[in-house]
């Protein structure tokens, strides 16, 4: 079982977490939405997996490249 890091590609703040712990997501599926430059930028899973941990909560400020969730395959 490999760990996958879901990272935000933009600096901003967490606007909405649209998945739940233990939920299975497929590659390309949105895990959470970051508000940046007045846009809703999705954080998408690069691979299919199950969400193990969220490292942020809604309204948390985030930086480009920051890991926001951990998944396992």
């Amino acid at each position: 079982m490999a760990e996958i890091e879901a990272k935000t590609e933009v600096t901003g703040s967490v606007w909405k977490i649209v998945t739940e712990l233990g939920q299975r997501v497929e590659a390309g599926e949105t895990i959470m939405i970051i508000e940046s430059m007045k846009m809703e930028i999705p954080v998408m899973s690069e691979e299919g997996g199950v969400i193990q941990r969220f490292l942020v909560e809604e309204t948390t400020p985030v930086s480009e490249g920051q890991v926001v969730a951990i998944l396992t395959t």
Binding site: M37, K38, M39
Partner: protein, 535 residues
């Protein structure tokens, strides 16, 4: 590979008089083909890397390599009898890629790590024969870089220290204005070879086996006390993804050669020839239905700009350049009805498409390259402006952004502006063809201005908003009023934008104008004059 070791010789006859010399020639060629010897070649293969001769063979058309300087090296003699030759650590010559001639060469890492070699005339590197060949015959140059350049040991050999620039970059610089230059980093490149990798129109490196830096880990540790691996200091994750020092990364040497052939397929042999037109394989009148719904009605929702490009360019023709760096902007070469075009598109998935310092750098190089080779540019515009915030200001986004605008306004190749959604401010200005037709077409989703309305209302109407009984409601009311007036159709009434089109019509519309621009391109060939001072 052209193997002249099998020299023509009539069957059953002996070469008259010149037999010993022909034998010596064969021996010397066999020594050259052996590179650094079986052991060194095996070690090189164990590192997951091909030899320079294998690289050339895999890159070019079959049997098309005509080597130059095969016999260069250091002969060993027993009295006057030649016993062995250590070849010069650089292999180069003339070859064909997809039937078109190229000059190419690369370091032979199996001999002294591909370090520089001093003959009467340089073979490769700065100012070498291979650069002269590309410049003189006006054909593309491909550098297969796998060497660390000079060494302090050369002081021992020469008896003096070499002044920087004695083997200068002037020829390398000249080539950037005349013929396509491709550099592939296929091992560890430091010093001169690393610098040469940058002096290219397009560069590529291979995951896991290649690194590039100004100086390697020992120098860095001694200078700064930082202990880093080669990969940490100059692997593709840093050099390509973070720094944009090298343009693209590929998973293998095989993928590298495929990418080089692909890049060159879009390029003319030189700036005196038009870009190569291919037979049209995709209907110019194709109107993909998906384009109608690709842009969400909600302005806060991004969309996939790469999908949009795929629906408009000739199918499968988009070759992305710098896909992992400066991702707020997408750049790449493609074809429209068989004609080569450069595509610059803002990416709403990253900072809403705002131009940050990386996107600006990316746009500058790409626009200059297309302008140099007379490749028309299509801008798919969705840019809210320059990136804002303290980090962006500290990174000099304003300065790099204005450089991008300046370079765009100096370009003379035909450009097409397709406003998909936002086109604001100075970043928006840099997407227009001010030296040409200035043809701007827009989708109904388009909006433009000096700055986005929601960003400007609070500042411009501050007193009125603060004085209202319900400040927020008043702000929204003012915004709604301004937004109605900012409808793209109103600007079209004033011919401030030349056309508003159904998104599905984008491909046929662009193909018509790109086809029509071919005479202009054919009659504007040659090197581009450089003037002015980039801000």
């Amino acid at each position: 590979m052209n193997d002249h070791s099998k020299s023509p010789q009539p069957k059953g006859s002996k070469p008259e008089g010149w037999g010993p010399e022909i034998e010596e020639l064969r021996f010397r060629r066999s020594q050259a083909r052996a590179l650094g010897g079986a052991e060194a070649v095996a070690r090189h293969h164990e590192r997951g890397r091909l030899t320079v001769r294998e690289r050339i063979e895999q890159l070019v058309d079959k049997n098309s390599f005509q080597e130059v300087g095969t016999l260069t090296g250091q002969g060993k003699y027993d009295g006057t009898k030649l016993t062995a030759v250590t070849p010069a650590p650089y292999v180069m010559g003339l070859a064909s890629i997809d039937g078109r001639p190229v000059a190419l060469g690369g370091e032979d890492f199996t001999i002294r790590g591909g370090s520089s070699w001093s003959g009467d005339r340089k073979k490769g590197g700065q100012g070498g024969f291979v650069e002269d060949l590309a410049a003189s015959y006006r054909i593309p140059l491909v550098n297969l870089i796998d060497g660390a350049g000079g060494s302090v040991t050369s002081i021992n050999r020469r008896g003096h220290a070499v002044f920087p620039g004695v083997h200068g970059f002037e020829r390398s610089v000249e080539l950037l204005g005349t013929v396509p230059v491709v550099c592939a980093v296929l091992g560890t490149a430091a010093g001169g070879p690393a610098g040469r990798a940058i002096l290219s129109h397009w560069s590529v490196m291979v995951d896991n086996t290649s690194q590039v830096f100004a100086a390697g880990p020992p120098v860095v540790e001694r200078s700064l006390g930082q202990k880093l691996t080669k990969e940490e200091l100059g692997g593709p994750q840093l050099a390509v993804d973070v720094a944009g020092t090298i343009d693209n990364r590929v998973p293998s040497e095989d993928a590298c050669f495929t990418a080089i052939r692909r890049f060159l397929s879009y390029m003319p042999a030189n700036v005196w020839e038009p870009p190569p037109t291919a037979a049209a394989t995709d209907s110019a009148d194709r109107c993909d239905e998906e384009l109608l719904s690709i842009v969400p009605k909600d302005r806060r929702h991004p969309y996939n700009m790469k999908k949009l490009i795929g629906h408009i360019a000739d199918r499968g023709s988009f070759f992305e350049i710098q896909p992992t760096f400066g991702k707020a902007l997408i750049t790449g070469l493609a074809r429209m009805n068989g004609k080569v075009v450069g595509i610059v598109a803002n990416n709403p998935m990253i900072y809403g498409g705002a131009m940050d310092v990386r996107a600006a750098r990316k746009q500058i190089h790409f626009v200059e390259m297309c302008d140099c080779f007379h490749i028309p540019l299509i801008f798919f515009v969705d840019v809210p402006g320059f990136m804002v915030g303290k980090d962006a200001e500290a990174a000099a986004t304003l300065r790099e952004g204005m450089r991008a605008v300046y370079v765009g306004l100096q370009a003379t190749v035909p450009m097409y502006t397709v406003v998909v959604r936002k086109c604001y401010g100075m970043a928006g200005m840099g997407t227009t063809d001010k030296n040409g037709l200035d043809l701007k077409i827009a989708w109904p989703s388009a909006e433009w201005g000096s700055l986005p309305i929601e960003g400007g209302v609070a500042a411009a109407f501050r007193r009125e908003i603060e004085g209202a009984p319900d400040a927020k409601a008043r702000e929204m009311e003012i915004e709604a009023g301004l937004r109605a007036m900012a409808s793209p159709f109103r600007t079209a009434e004033a011919f401030g934008v030349e056309e508003i089109i159904d998104p599905r019509e984008t491909r046929p519309y662009l193909c018509r104008f790109i086809d029509a621009a071919q005479p202009r391109i054919r009659t504007s060939l040659g090197p581009k004059a450089k003037y002015g001072v980039r801000p």
